[in-house]
Symmetry: C3
Subunit: 312 residues, 3 copies
């Protein structure tokens, strides 16, 4: 439901990857690949205003969307709702409707509440498009798309023979959920999930995944490793004993990486905790695709903004 | 004096509506109406730099001006002087002159001090234009203009037969003062003002107005209701007993609204305190023009920026 | 070393003025002069993305660079790393590489650490240009350039007969260091430096300068006076007794100014402490070039951005 294709198969909002059909997901990836290769569309959104409306701050994701929108010729407005003193007790919906009434047509929204972005999309006028830049633990669709693009660039378009592993705090991760949605849609055959029991979800997130707490075993022969960031608050919450323990059990080192396929790629959504979930050697090594992911992020966001907002 | 038309009737600064002659006020409204209907002028301010210089923060007003300036092709710079640590004890005038010296030609200034924006305009070089985005309790001319535009769209250009009421904390409201200036200029015949005695001014703000503390009476047969925001600090200042009391006496409910003319419109400058000065039912009801006001805000600001800054 | 001209004499980064050869420094000044006189290049950086990456905040310097980049047609992104909560313990280098990976080609970087900007430039990819917007006490090359441009406009291109004095907290001043580098490169014959012993450096910064603690003597017959800002923390650090004492000994008053050549010019990098290092009368007087410096700042930054980033 959350991808909301309308009758002519045009995507109206991009809220999650769970309901984005494979043809539309692949069309976004093909277009993003073209942008990644240097395709220009400097007038695609000429005269269109896009607002990055962040109820939860994230400078890097905001900059990536801003750059993508600028490269398409849009006017970009930034609204950092987390620090604005001027919302003055106004509801999120009133803030959204207000900016929409100014004539802004594209909204890039981040929110700490699950479902909060979809709720704004639900209230949007015809002609307004909402892109989810991350809500709660639920969705981060452009991160999922950029991870898929990075994986295709390394391994080709056929995911049916790929073995991948997602490692770390899957429980609290919208990145992991969006990756899993997309991997399923694209027909990945072997999805492994690895982390301490305290950081793995007990809902249907892991449907169809092979789940293990043994990182060494999880890495055997995989083609791609999706590392997740460990939030420091997991320690104070008692979910992780210590950074040292976490690194010993779930840190990706060069030695461990040798268990994966020789041409396996390593991804991380950033920002990285170097020395915790990943060592410098791996983060900066030849198998790392961390900076490629960032570059692909702009390409994917250009594709998504264009798909939702360019004149038909 | 504050509208400062120069010898060729061109407005130099837009500081207040008290001295803006009717022909110039109506010209701005006509141009704003054209923008509201979709008129484009994407090159009108090409190469012109505009700075939103806010000594008092207001994200929404800043965004509205930013969008207006972008739609005219201006370069827009934001200077949030309320949080900038870099002014480092510098005077407001030095900050202004400094940005002016960079080649910025348009200044959108908000300031908590009455007269502070006019003081900067006084010091401006030839060729620099200052737009008041709100100073103290005194002026908020673009809000007054957008309210007039909203009223004209609903009731036509002839205000001579209109009955209007302004409700709430008129004493501290630059919105109310700017509305009253414009209503007088446009020949409105019956201006009512309603609020608790503690929130009504005792100066000449209310000249020519019918003043009452009885909201029900004030609403009888009016064509337009200008609701004002109740600042929460009025409670701690002892000017208002409680939000409940205020709502009972001066909150606009559906029941009360029926006292007005059947096609009366309801306006509010936002952000709204839902459940205090206005109920959800009214705010979101068919007579509400709240979001239309926001849309008109961009149109009015485009007209003002163009009038002051476009090449003659 | 820090100016890094590459094999075709193109400047790759602008990190300091100590190693910028005279022909390239003069070429920048000539181009800046053309911009100061109204030369336009609205497409020079079309499609190029520039990020102002400030690890130390400075609204005015950031705005000046932003305006310069906009006037050349660049897309400008702002990253205030000093307040961003999203760097989340990430290293400065990871932050830089991340934004670089997004496709940003120009970086305007300010940092409180000496050498920190050069370290990022060292790690930059081919095609990426770094402009130092101030690091520690070391370099502020565009300030040095704008001061030289201001001096040339007043005194002509031949600095060999000029007498100049730099006054104040030279010890902690990157502005003073950049000015001294440029003055030497341009062949200034008589550089005087004046300030209390506690605020003068004991390293080779003052090589070739005439050093004195006597402000009256230092002013005799000079053609240009470079005043420096007194940071208030010098009092708590015990380096300055009181603002009054400092003003008495090193404040530039009209009376003192008469010791200089009759057509001497007065410069200050701003923001000014009026009544401390400079009086209102001097700051706003006919010999002050303070606002001219600000205007020249945009021109110099346009020249630098163009030199580093425009297509060859």
């Amino acid at each position: 439901m959350s991808a909301s294709p309308d009758t002519d198969n045009r995507i109206r909002h991009l809220l999650g990857l769970d309901a984005l059909p494979r043809p539309q997901l692949e069309a976004l990836l093909r277009r993003a690949q073209a942008f990644a290769e240097g395709e220009q569309a400097p007038q695609a959104l000429a005269g269109v205003a896009v607002c990055t409306l962040f109820f939860e701050p994230s400078t890097r994701t905001r900059l990536s969307f801003q750059l993508a929108a600028q490269r398409l010729g849009a006017h970009v407005l930034g609204f950092d709702a987390s620090t604005s003193s001027t919302t003055k007790g106004e509801t999120d919906l009133d803030t959204f409707r207000n900016i929409e009434a100014m004539g802004v047509r594209g909204f890039v929204v981040r929110h700490k509440g699950d479902g909060a972005v979809a709720a704004l999309a639900q209230a949007a006028r015809p002609g307004t498009a909402v892109l989810n830049a991350g809500d709660g633990r639920s969705h981060h669709p452009t991160q999922g798309l950029l991870d898929m693009l990075t994986l295709r660039q390394a391994k080709g378009e056929d995911f049916s023979k790929l073995k991948v592993v997602i490692v770390g705090d899957v429980k609290h991760s919208r990145v992991a959920r969006s990756d899993l949605h997309a991997l399923r849609t694209l027909g990945c055959s072997e999805m492994r999930v690895c982390g301490p029991a305290s950081l793995l979800p007990d809902d249907d997130t892991l449907h169809g995944c092979f789940v293990t707490h043994d990182f060494d075993a999880a890495l055997e022969g995989v083609d791609a490793i999706f590392m997740l960031r460990l939030q420091r608050e997991r320690m104070s919450e008692g979910l992780v004993e210590s950074l040292d323990d976490y690194h010993r059990d779930y840190g990706l080192t060069s030695a461990r990486l040798r268990r994966a396929a020789p041409d396996a790629i390593v991804m991380h959504p950033g920002p990285m905790n170097r020395g915790v979930e990943i060592t410098d050697e791996v983060a900066d090594g030849p198998q790392s695709r961390v900076l490629r992911q960032v570059a692909n992020g702009v390409a994917v966001r250009m594709a998504a903004l264009e798909a939702l907002l360019a004149a038909a």
